[in-house]
Amino acid sequence: MTGFDPLAAVLWLPLGAAAVLAALPGYVLPARLNVLACLASLVCAVSLFWHRPPAGDYLMVDDLNVVFIVLNTFVGFTTATFSASYIAHELQTGRLTLGFLRFYHAMYQVMMFGMNLALVANNIGLMWVAVELATLTTVVMVGIYRTPAAIEAAWKYFILGSVGIALALFGTILVYLAAQPVLGEGTGSMVWTVLITRAASFDPELLNVAFVFLLLGYGTKVGLAPLHAWLPDAHAEGPTPISAVLSGLLLNVALYALLRFKMLLAANPQALAPGPLMIGLGLLSLIFAGLMLYRRVDIKRLFAYSSIEHMGIIVFAFGVAGPLGNFAGLLQMTMHSLTKSAIFFTVGHITQAKGTQKLADMGGLTETHPVLGWTLVAGVIAIAGLPPFGVFMSEFLLVSSTFARQPVLAAAVVAGLLIAFGALLVQITPVTFGPPRGRNARVHASTLPIFAHLALVLLGGIYLPPALVAWFQHVAALLG
């Protein structure tokens, strides 16, 4: 490999694109350029499958993150495609101006950079910085409409996110402190690949305290109840592409960070098993979000709560651990991000067609907008964990493997799943079926990203590529 380093490209491409986009006026060209940059990042990310550079002090690629980088760039690409048609409509209706659009595109790339960096970071400090960067960019994106509600959402996101990030940093410092007596001072004590090999000799009690901070810190970004408050509003008030990215990617990135630390704890036999904490928070999030779904009036907020619910399931899965639990968690992360972003794409078009986000003002979509309506139905079915979609497989593995060991927990999960499913069904049935309600504008929908996501999710329920399975199994073993 001479000259071309895909890892560097994955990072530099978005950054460079951000600089260019910040300078370009208009919206057609920047939108296309945005898509193009994302596509290029995706190609580079895919090439990581074949050329894995050795882990350095700052960056690395391994079985865990290679999947997530590709997922990240893929969803980034499809979201950019969706965003191109979405933003055009927003310009027409005057919700955004050209100046903001320039800012939007640049920020989009910076955000992609931040997330990619967080995923490939080998240094826990660098990872923290990257997550913070991604958070800050999404904050400004959420507030981009500058309506009072958007500003309020952004403000809430910002304050809660900042506190979370501070706690995560404190946890990171504690991890360093735990590593320092073993690995000595300096960079080495923050390099993840080094940490994991020596984790067994760290002070377990310090690691425990560190994990509490990391769980709460990154958990805030993940949106676990009761730290979730920013999430629904940020999803609901920002532009829909950003909602898709938030749910589909940013939550994953934060969770990924949490997973890295969980692996450290798993590698230390004396450390407190993080299971009970994660199980508790996961269950709380699942059931809480499930109940919150019932009284939502805003469609985007509805699906935002569904994201909380899924994050709860995923964190629960990792808490239960074991090869099947971890596998289920990883699969669920992947499938959720694909499905949820597809749902947000659909919802974006629907809200444009209906001119509102209020559930009460929508109805009979399968009749007025058959493609959007049925896609929403498919998306909801997929996200609810029904076959033939991929979430079904992960929930199948999770529930069945948990029940034999901890019947009460599995029963609680089943109850939570049912509560949430009932809510989604009750909420979405009048939207997609029944007599049409509200405005019925035609939209020029870009259905390709939606179908691509749903096709992948469908494939996930039927057939998983052996390579992916092997990686996940390897990672699942590391996760303990």
Binding site: K156, I159, V212, V399, S400, S401, A404, L418, G422, I462
Partner: protein, 666 residues
């Protein structure tokens, strides 16, 4: 080989579904799709009937396991049942489907629904099984939502899909427990497992809840009378006649096959018998109170499922006591009844569909006199009604007769609990059978006989020839299965042998085509002979009357004990028809009450009677859950409206709390 054919049929059905989704609005789509479905079903049916056992592994599904499919004798029986029902419904739908308002909401899901049911039956690992199970639920949900503009359909769809998911999750838990012993999701490994008794009992309970809620056992039936009627009639026939059988299959597969005889205990029969008996009686009582033709049929499905579960419970009891012969009798009765129910319930739903097409009405209080405008349909439906009422010489009686014979064997059971329970269940069964007859007299008498009660009957016309062919075909099968029960019993016996390790003696070799379940001495039944007798007796009676008696016939106005005819308004209504039975059972089962407002003497205003009935299962089981969830939702809703400071205090409290916990723990 059979496995391959069935898998190919499933694939073909799924492709057909896809094609239908893309081309549902084409002009000839309806006959094409239904015709192809019928052909594919027939292929699968003959493969199941003629084929051999075999297994297949497809490289999809769970990554490290693959999708296992296997056709064994049990699966073959249910495959035959599903595909026969599917073929009949498709044939019916070629005609019926022309009246569909929105064919694009039905056509794609219909083949998928049948494919899902087929796949459930041949699945040989937990993932494929549940995948197919949910596919079946989803497709049928979409069919229930076909008439999406009606609020009832939407409500039915919501309740149905939630209950279906509940049942799938319960089965998932059951299979998860089974899988835990060997850590493998393949059925082959589950069979080998030896479970601690409490675990096996838990699996049984979960399977009963999961499969039972799909089959419509009380009190988990709430979705069934909502969803079955909401779907188009040919789909109702499939859901009632076939899908409930798939649920029964699931129960047999898990409890009889996967749990295996080694794990079984006698008390398992207790919950199965109790729920079965309760469902049988309560189902038919609900049906008796119902005015909606299709809902009535749906409740009758609950009754029949209950009867099947009584058979299954008896089989469990006998198997646990190592009495394979008796267990075989019980299981044969159950499977036979399942098959019969598929036949007659399909005809009944087809008939209801034809009535719906002809009159646009499902409320029997507004029907009447249809026998004169739809004579052929009326004959088919009458046959099915008689079969459903367990009257000889039709098939429904044959299977109930077998069930009664099984109950008569049960004093040989060593457990006291069962000895007390079985006769009680026998009473329930007898009660259910008698009430079923009452129910179908009422349904048929009010809807098809008498004088038209509303104008909607005026424009009615006979159904089209495809519908008639389907109805007549299945009605003929009802008669044939009733006259030659031995054929069906013999066809079932390999499956019975596989599941409980015993079988009935071959029936076809017996003289005069009688069926003898246990021994010559104890009981035998020959439907053919009875039929011939009745036939001859009728002939003799007819001949004698026409030789000896007057042939004069005069048509005249109604006499009615001399009352002047006040028109069809004075006809007996369905509500008043069931009033005596409501008086007897209502206070207990429905907490029903009646109040009469009688005007004072001299006042010319009409007297009024009003009745109040409660659906106790809904009020005791579902309403509290709904209320609790909604109350919690309202309570938690306030967390959407807090200030940032309060949210921050959650973070703060979580942090302090966790740190405190950690300190205390360390």
């Amino acid at each position: 080989m059979t496995a391959l054919v069935v898998v190919a049929c499933i694939a073909a059905l799924l492709l057909l579904a896809l094609a239908a989704a893309l081309g549902a609005r084409a002009s000839r789509a309806t006959p094409l799709v239904y015709g192809s479905t019928a052909v594919i079903c027939l292929v699968a049916f003959s493969a199941a009937l003629l084929g051999d056992d075999g297994a297949l592994m497809l490289p999809v599904g769970l990554p490290w396991l693959g999708a296992h499919v296997r056709v064994d004798r049990l699966a073959a029986v249910f495959l035959a049942l599903i595909d026969l029902g599917g073929a009949g419904a498709s044939l019916y739908a070629i005609g019926y489907g022309r009246h569909e308002h929105a064919p694009h909401r039905v056509l794609p899901f219909f083949p998928a629904f049948i494919a899902g049911m087929n796949l459930v039956v041949i699945a040989d690992d937990a993932y494929t099984f549940l995948f197919a199970w949910e596919l079946m639920s989803l497709a049928s949900w979409a069919l229930v939502m076909a008439d999406h503009r009606s609020p009832d359909s939407r409500r039915a769809g919501i309740v149905y899909l939630i209950m279906a998911t509940f049942s799938a999750l319960t089965l998932l838990l059951a299979l998860g427990l089974l899988a835990a012993t060997h850590g493998s999701y393949a059925f082959a490994d589950m069979r080998a497992g030896e479970l601690p008794p409490w675990r096996a009992g838990l699996v049984l309970t979960l399977a009963l809840i999961g499969a039972g809620s799909k089959a419509g056992l009380m009190p988990l039936h709430a979705w069934l009378p909502l969803a079955h009627p909401a779907a188009p009639s040919h789909v109702s026939a499939l859901m009632s006649g076939v899908m409930t059988k798939v649920a029964i299959y699931a129960f047999i597969r898990i409890v009889f096959d996967l749990l295996g005889p080694a794990n079984s205990t006698w008390w398992w029969a207790v919950p199965v018998l109790t729920t079965g008996g309760t469902a049988a009686v309560l189902g038919v009582l609900h049906a008796l109170m119902e005015h909606d033709l299709k809902r009535l049929l749906a409740y009758s499905t609950i009754e029949n499922v209950g009867i099947v579960f009584i058979g299954l419970g008896l089989a469990l009891a006998f198997r646990a006591n190592a009495m394979p012969g008796a267990a075989a009798l019980a299981l044969t009765a159950a499977l036979f009844h399942a098959f019969n129910h598929m036949l007659f319930k399909s005809v009944l739903f087809f008939g209801a569909g034809s009535v719906l097409v002809a009159t646009g009405e499902r409320n029997i209080e507004r029907l009447g006199g249809l026998i004169r405008v739809m004579p052929v349909s009326a004959g088919c439906v009458l046959t099915a009604c008689m079969a459903a009422s367990a009257l000889p010489p039709l098939n429904g009686f044959a299977s109930e007769w077998l069930t009664f014979q099984t109950i008569l064997v049960s004093p040989a059971l060593p457990q006291w609990g069962l000895r007390l329970l079985v006769p009680t269940v026998g009473t329930l069964l007898a009660l259910a059978a008698a009430l079923a007859a009452a129910c179908f007299v009422r349904a048929y008498g009010i809807a098809w006989l008498g004088r038209p009660r509303s104008a909607c009957v005026d424009g009615a016309h006979e159904a089209d020839r495809f519908s008639l062919a389907a109805m007549a075909g299945f009605a003929a099968l009802c008669v044939l299965a009733g006259l030659f029960p031995g054929v069906v019993i013999d066809a079932l016996s390999p499956a019975v042998q596989m599941v409980v390790g015993g079988r009935l003696q071959p029936q076809l070799g017996l003289p005069w085509l009688s069926i003898v379940p246990i021994a010559d001495r104890s009981s035998s039944y020959n439907a053919l002979a009875i039929f011939v007798f009745v036939f001859c007796a009728t002939g003799m009676g007819w001949a004698a009357l026409h030789r000896l008696g007057s042939k004069a016939v005069r048509s005249a106005r109604l006499w009615d004990c001399g009352y002047p005819d006040l028109g069809p308004v004075t006809e007996y209504t369905a509500a008043s028809y069931s009033q005596p039975i409501r008086r007897v059972f209502g206070p207990l089962v429905f907490r029903s009450s009646e109040s009469v407002v009688m005007p004072p003497p001299g006042d010319m205003s009409p007297a009024r009677i009003s009745k109040r009935m409660h659906d106790l299962a809904w009020e005791a089981l579902y309403q509290p859950v709904c209320d609790a969830v909604l109350a919690l939702a309202v309570f938690f809703d306030r967390f959407q409206f807090l200030t940032i400071r309060r949210y921050l205090s959650f973070v703060f409290l979580a942090l302090v709390g966790l740190l405190l916990a950690l300190t205390l723990w360390q």
